[in-house]
Amino acid sequence: MFSTLTYLQLQEYWWFIVSLLAGLFVFMTFVQGGQTLLWSIGKNQEQRDVIVNLLGRKWELTFSTLVMFGGALFAAFPLFYATSFGGAYYVWMAILFCFIIQAVAYEYRSKKNNFFGKRTYELFLFINGSVGIFLIGVALATLFTGGNFVVNNMNLSHWTLPTYGLEALLNPFNIAFGLMLLFLSRLLATLYFVNAIENKEIVEHSRLTLKYETVIFLLLFFFVIGSILSMTGYGYNPESLVVSAEPIKFWHNFLALPFISGSFLLGTILVLIGAGVGVFSKSDKGFWSAGVGTILVVTSLFLILGYNNTAFYPSLANMQSSLTIQNSSSSHYTLKTMAYVSLLVPFVLGYIIVVWRVMNRKKISVDEVKNNPHHY
């Protein structure tokens, strides 16, 4: 099946898998968005308990998707893994810190004698949801704006600034991208609350909050997309692999890849429909429209970033060190082998969907949380 694919086709296939995982991860960050809304939507302890217990049944899926995203990058594009993680050291370490504290927060939050106290674990959830997602957004934004690294002739990389990635915080585009991701996660979270919680007060409050989140998200989204379409990108010659700057590169990519542009537009519309359904109707299904839309938008943006002979991680220190799907990937043999492994993805998605349906068949309520001896 994959044996007949060329090396370049396999590189493109794996970039698609990485892009899809990025899309799924951003969709799943509704968990993080919800964590940042814990105190604003949860007006009392009971309501906060319901929210935490709702999100607590999904947080591990988000966590696993992030790990899977990292694993796929390592397996398919190891030079990116080495260059970005080993260079933008402080940013990635800060992100990891935010996810470490999340992993214990749910289980330990309401346990007796938990050392840090309930509020601290809730603060851990807030930090994970806000700082963690914002920083992931900043890190992803550098795929458009570049990083200060050099790759030598042995393909070993090093960062040229002692700030090891923190300098990305000085770029307004990166900041806007991080904030956009944060508000998208909050938008999705409010829709998920509407979808899965049986509590009139929480649902009403979520619909109200959704209005503001949508407005802020859209402002950031239009700024980010406008910037992407107008910025200078970096293309490369597929034969010589020489990288060169190209004005409005991503606009060109959108035009050259109509199927992906269509999917991006469709995704955007679905997110808007989802938010509209949440704000203007009594339906609780807006989450699914916005969720599918998010996956489409993020996957498409990633594809635009890596396809059409584009450097998906430009080097600001040495343009020829920029990473492309061709110069940063694993070998032909590894990509082919792992392509067979990737056939498991639909199977995994299948059982996740089945279990999701079973667990969400009935909406979560205050009573259910109170009566379950194992609650968060």
Binding site: G86, F99, K111, F115, H158, S331
Partner: protein, 513 residues
């Protein structure tokens, strides 16, 4: 090779050791306890006795506390290969990334998806579906261990790859050779079975405490019966897999074996040291006795390593300085060949960049003739290949000694449980409690043996740790080391406090604030 600050290597190793050490406190218990709760729930589904349901739920509650911190300490391990070992990530990422990605796809999603049913699905799914979910969590966590140990086994005994001078990295050539690497599956079986032993000790220790306190007696007896039976079977299995594992070490990592046994001079009919105190002033170049005191079995090491009493087992000196009689090449000669390979690789890249095809071919031929020892070319002196002998020796002997004790403990507890005398044997109950910290020590000791014993290699004989680090300042790594040390210590304190509180509360209720 660019100059690498030695303190960067030390801090990078320290940080990885810190995170692995913390992670390894929690993982073995998860590996085993998931199976123990699955067995208990199976008994519940088969008998329909609600006592077993409550027993299952209690141990499941403790599992959840442990599971959470295992995840917290685990996420950093994967990403640290990129953040702290970025050269490694490129040089072997083509091979090493694959098992990590497969682990995520096959194991993590299975664990995280069915974990939700296991804890919150008691009233949402049928008994059998719930049981299936519990088993899938157990299988998922053990699948995770499988792929990680395939990756680790490859680091100890690299197979199925070739070095590509064009990309300056090792590339996979045989996926199945990596998956069925004998080093990987002996390691996997030994590691998971030792995890089952720890989980059995955990259940026994807590149940023994209840029996000593004369509370929750039926619960404790039921739990002990399951744990001691399971523990005895898996501890015997750990013994045999340990033997297989040691044989793999003898075949592929003779220096590690020599360090594990404090064997400075190779010999036929080599003895195995069952107990010994190393001579602290012993150095590689002097002729002092390596031991101040020892109890040894003649021929034991030759037999265990090569299944032959007369087999020759090389010592540290032979591996470093060579031995013509036994056709062991000296490390100095390997370093010399390695340096030729390093230089030829540099020349090849230069010639290729300049478009000089003739020089490129010549350099490539030289490289390929010496590439087997490329990793040695980055070492400074032959003595660099010697790991920390005392640490490896004591860690190995601690693990083996404690492992032997656990077998005896399981036999005694199982026997006294079956004769209904255990609750009256105060000394045995105390031994059951004190064996739990011993179990954790044995786990860490096993990990130290495996990882310290193979230094200075990140990939055995192929890539020294000094060549594998990221090019960042040692101050940055020092900062994050202390950050994680503080965080993990805080989380460990929280975990222990919560766990002990839950245990004191007992199986009747789960405590919440």
């Amino acid at each position: 090779m660019e100059h690498i600050d030695p303190s960067l290597i030390d801090w990078s190793r320290a940080q990885f050791a810190l995170t692995a050490l913390y992670h390894w406190i929690f993982v073995p218990l998860t590996l085993g306890l998931t199976f123990i709760v699955a067995i208990m729930e199976s008994i519940y589904v088969k008998t329909g006795n609600p006592w077993w349901r409550e027993t299952t739920k209690f141990w499941m509650g403790l599992l959840a506390i442990n599971f959470a911190i295992g995840l917290a300490t685990g996420i950093i391990m994967e990403f640290e290969f990129g953040t702290n070992w970025s050269n490694y990530s490129w040089i072997v990422g083509d091979i090493f990334g694959a098992p990590l990605a497969i682990e995520g796809l096959m194991a993590f999603f299975m664990e995280s998806t069915f974990f939700a049913i296991m804890f919150f699905g008691w009233e949402k799914v049928s008994k059998k579906t719930h049981l299936l979910s519990t088993w899938l969590v157990a299988i998922g966590s053990n699948l995770s261990a499988l792929w990680i140990l395939i990756a680790n086994g490859w680091m100890q005994h690299p197979v199925g790859m070739t070095f590509n001078p064009d990309t300056a990295r090792n590339e996979m050539t045989d996926f199945w050779a990596i998956v069925f690497n004998p080093n990987a599956y002996t390691k996997f079986l030994h590691t998971i079975s030792s995890g089952y032993v720890l989980a059995s000790l955990f259940v026994i220790a807590i149940s023994s405490w209840y029996l000593l306190k004369k509370r929750d007696i039926q619960f404790a007896k039921r739990s002990i019966m399951v744990a001691a039976s399971f523990g005895l079977i898996v501890s015997l299995f750990t013994l045999t897999t340990g033997d297989d594992s040691a044989r793999q070490v003898a075949l592929n990592q003779p220096m590690k074996l020599a360090a594990m046994e404090g064997l400075y001079d190779g010999k036929t009919d080599a003895e195995i040291v069952t107990f010994g105190i190393l001579n602290p002033s012993k150095t590689l170049k002097d002729k002092q006795e390596p031991f101040l005191f020892k109890v040894a079995i003649p021929g034991g090491l030759s037999l265990l390593s090569y299944h032959n009493f007369d087999a020759y087992v090389p010592g540290i000196k032979q591996i470093v300085y060579g031995d013509k009689e036994h056709k062991i090449m000296s490390t100095e000669a390997k370093i010399a060949q390695g340096k030729i390979a390093v230089k030829a690789l540099t020349n090849y890249k230069k010639a290729k960049k300049a478009g000089d095809k003739k020089s490129a071919k010549k350099a490539k031929d030289v490289f390929e003739a010496h590439s087997q020892y490329l990793g040695y070319g980055y070492l400074k002196s032959p003595e660099d290949v010697v790991p920390n002998v005392p640490m490896t020796f004591y860690a190995f002997h601690t693990m083996v000694g404690l492992g032997t004790w656990f077998i005896l403990l399981f036999i005694l507890i199982l026997y006294t449980t079956m004769t209904n005398e255990l609750h009256n044997k105060r000394w045995l109950l105390l031994a059951g409690i004190w064996s739990l910290p011993m179990g954790y020590i044995a786990q860490e000791a096993g990990w130290i043996t495996a990882e310290v014993g193979r230094q200075p290699w990140a990939i055995q004989d192929m890539l020294p740790v000094g060549m594998a680090t990221s090019s960042i300042s040692s101050g940055s790594v020092m900062f994050t080391f202390w950050m994680f040390a503080l965080l993990f210590t805080g989380l460990l304190i929280a975990e222990v406090k919560i766990m002990t509180t839950q245990i004191k509360m007992g199986p009747k209720e789960e405590s919440h604030v």
